[in-house]
């Protein structure tokens, strides 16, 4: 299954990119984060991140579908 990931802030710095497409067997955001955290060396535990799929916040155990756009959001600092 193909998924697209967007990275922001320190996650983008660590991954060295703002986006990537992956062929992944992950069934949920939780499984996908374990995969990308290992690949890029992300230090955040999943508990500190929020997850968005296709532009909306979702639960980390929601099933993923082919073509989904997934974002792991580190703690925000706007304002």
């Amino acid at each position: 299954m193909n998924v697209k990931l967007l990275y922001f802030a320190s996650l983008a710095d660590r991954a060295g990119r703002g986006a990537e497409t992956r062929d992944s067997a992950a069934r949920t955001p939780r499984e996908l984060y374990a995969e990308v955290a290992a690949a890029h060396g992300f230090a955040f535990p999943l508990e500190r991140l929020r997850v968005a799929v296709n532009g909306a916040f979702v639960d980390v155990d929601r099933p993923l579908a082919d073509g989904d756009e997934i974002v792991f959001l580190p703690p925000v600092s706007g304002g």
Binding site: L6, A9, P75
Partner: protein, 140 residues
């Protein structure tokens, strides 16, 4: 599509241009908040900073916050504009404006909105320090 209440801006925020949207003949009170880029943070001298947004979700979440504020508080109108991109000391980073019949609701809603924006809207700040270092802020 109605005029959005929450916007991201890549150019300086013109507060005077935002104001007419808040005018209402029944509104006796207007409260506003502006976040300016400070020259220090946590004891370090800051030279400038960048804001990065996950724009699609930031716009949706910001709009949701302003809709919630209108449901929670007796206000006539509420708006917010947040800068993205590179800012210098003293630049306006975020503006919130609220009009209401009475001042209590205007203050309460304005403060609630900026608190929620800082807590929920996917925007990140990268501070560039006087010593040449920089860092994305990810509050605990």
């Amino acid at each position: 599509m109605t005029d959005p209440r929450f916007r991201l801006s890549e150019t300086p925020i013109d507060v005077a241009a935002e104001r007419p949207a808040l005018d209402h003949a029944a509104a006796g009170a207007y409260a506003s908040f502006e976040g300016w880029v400070r020259d220090h943070n946590d004891g370090r001298a800051v030279h400038r900073l960048d804001y990065q947004a996950y724009a699609a979700l930031a716009l949706a979440e910001g709009e949701a916050i302003l809709e919630e504020a209108r449901a929670r508080f007796r206000v006539r109108e509420a708006r917010c504009v947040h800068r993205v991109g590179s800012l210098a000391i003293g630049d306006l980073a975020v503006w919130v404006g609220v009009s209401a019949d009475h001042r209590g609701a205007a203050f309460d809603a304005c403060r609630w909105i900026i608190d929620e924006v800082k807590r929920r809207v996917p925007i990140w700040k990268n501070e560039h320090y006087a010593d040449g270092e920089s860092g994305w802020l990810h509050p605990e």
